[in-house]
């Protein structure tokens, strides 16, 4: 946690100076996300997968679906677990070893955005009540870093889930036995979309890139669902938001999220 370098400080000044003029360092509008490209089925042997580029940030999500034991108190529901990892090749500063707090937060925020939207109907993922359920694991790995991993991982996981196929298992002799029938679409309903905004000075910008990420005062990630409702939120960073700003961020997230949802739907189509 060395002091910020002079270059960092100069970049921040430049970014702020441009924002005062209503401009961003890469020419985007304040509420404009970077270009999103989504390749589904990038890992054909997984049950679902997607490779997402959000500007120069790149994430791969692979979904594995397999029998598991239910939690003791929810024997009538399948499992959904979403993880995230920064691979060391994604940036020179990434360290191997146990996950840092910011990576744990990343994984938990992406997980909650999807979980709280009820995108996956876990009640359909039961093999034998209280004994065996279907576990859906969406593992994100970051392969190139240029800011805003929250959204990149969220889109990768969502696209991978939307195109996942689940095998069927039968409960035979106290064991889950794979049914040879064709895998079917994973049961999903709404499409959650996370939109991360940074506050730099008094400006709110959507989808901060790496330089903007380093310069921000605070950030907020808001996930909305297909009905235009808000289903999860996480504030971060070492400063605060006014109540008006929070309301404004809510509106932006629903509006921008609706556009990004179309990109996710197109990716879903392309995978079928």
């Amino acid at each position: 946690m060395a002091s910020k370098t002079v270059i960092d400080e100069l970049k921040k000044s430049k970014i702020l100076e441009l924002l005062e003029q209503g401009k961003r360092i890469d020419g985007r509008a304040l509420d404009e996300p970077r270009e999103i490209s989504i390749e589904v089925n990038a890992i054909p042997k997984a049950n679902g997968s997607a490779r997402v580029r959000l500007g120069d940030t790149e994430v791969i999500c692979g979904v594995k679906i397999q029998p598991d034991r239910p939690f003791p108190d929810t024997g009538d529901k399948g499992l959904f677990i979403c993880t995230a990892e920064l691979l060391p090749l994604s940036h020179p500063t990434v360290e191997t070893g146990p996950p840092q707090p910011h990576v744990i937060e990343l994984a938990r925020v992406v997980d909650r955005g999807i979980r709280e939207s009820h995108m996956i109907d876990v009640s359909q993922l039961v093999i034998q009540k209280d004994k065996s359920v279907i576990g859906v694991f969406a593992d994100n790995v970051v392969v190139d870093y240029d800011g805003n991993l929250f959204d990149a991982c969220s889109y990768a996981a969502t696209a991978a889930l939307l195109t996942s196929k689940t095998p069927k298992w039968n409960w035979v002799d106290e064991k889950a036995v794979l049914d040879e029938s064709e895998p079917t679409q994973l049961p999903t309903s709404t499409i959650p979309v996370s939109v991360t905004m940074a506050k730099i000075g008094n400006h709110i910008i959507v989808d901060p890139n790496g330089d903007e990420w380093n310069s921000m005062d605070a950030r907020i990630t808001i996930t909305s669902d297909s009905d235009g409702n808000i289903c999860a939120l996480q504030k971060g960073g070492s400063n605060g938001f006014s109540q008006d700003e929070i309301n404004q961020c809510g509106e932006i997230s629903v509006r921008v999220g609706a556009k990004i949802r179309e990109i996710l739907k197109a990716a879903q189509q392309s995978g079928q």
Partner: protein
């Protein structure tokens, strides 16, 4: 929060909640500043059935040195639950949830603490949840602010915190454990009452855009109520009105 159901009566026809409160009413909250001998500052909060102890050390040297910052002090926060604080005994190893909450509380406190006055040092906030009952992160954040003040750390403002949420299709203040389990949404808020800034905000659960605004508003009002209790705790210790 996947397991919400509606078998419990969360809100009756008179607008009374499962624990007898009105929709805009906080649970009983008491804060005591000080109490620990060895900590530089401390606070104890009872927030409903939550019981949380906070100790603060610092500013003090950082080991290893390369973790320190020559331009400013650093704030370190550990949120930790005792094995006996929850219904089923908790494994003593720190969970991913505890690590995330530690980070969220740290970032909620940073805007309030004048860290720039203490370059190269660290201020450590240790939060111990003795008994949990829903809303521990807000209770912990409120107590941590008082403990920092008790340690004499210069602050721009207090951070006051409580949660709002949606229960039985209604926006309510201060979601308790039963409401969190069976309710529809939970929104913890941390707020600096004088600087009017929200420094902690999370949401789990579905809200319409209108409910979202309402929820923020209700939560901010609750934070202002908490702020009064925080001030009283410090006044009780430092100006001797313990008899109140």
């Amino acid at each position: 929060m996947g397991g919400r159901d509606a078998t419990m009566v969360l809100l009756d026809e008179n607008g009374i909640r499962c624990d007898g409160r009105k929709i805009d009413e906080l649970r009983k909250v008491t804060i005591k500043a000080g109490g620990l001998k060895n900590a530089d500052g401390s606070a104890y909060i009872e927030f409903g059935d939550n019981k949380i102890l906070v100790g603060v050390f610092g500013p003090r040297d950082v080991h290893p040195k390369h973790m320190s910052n020559t331009d400013t002090g650093i704030l370190r926060v550990r949120y930790h639950m005792e094995p006996f604080s929850v219904t089923e005994r908790k494994n003593p190893a720190p969970s991913r949830r505890e690590i995330e909450i530690s980070k969220v509380i740290k970032e909620a406190l940073e805007p309030a603490v004048m860290l720039e006055k203490f370059p190269r040092t660290a201020i450590d906030v240790f939060i111990e949840v003795l008994q949990a009952d829903g809303g521990t992160r807000c209770a912990a954040l409120s107590a941590a602010s008082v403990a920092l003040a008790d340690a004499g750390i210069p602050m721009r403002d207090m951070v006051s915190a409580c949660a709002s949420g949606k229960v039985a299709d209604t926006i309510v203040l201060d979601v308790n454990n039963e409401e969190d389990q069976a309710g529809q949404a939970d929104m913890p808020i941390g707020y600096m009452p004088n600087l009017e800034k929200i420094t902690l905000l999370q949401l789990d659960g579905v809200l319409t855009p209108e409910e979202y605004k309402k929820c923020v508003d209700v939560g901010v009002q609750g934070c202002k109520d908490i702020y009064e209790i925080q001030k009283k705790a410090l006044a009780d210790k430092y100006f001797g009105n313990k008899g109140d």
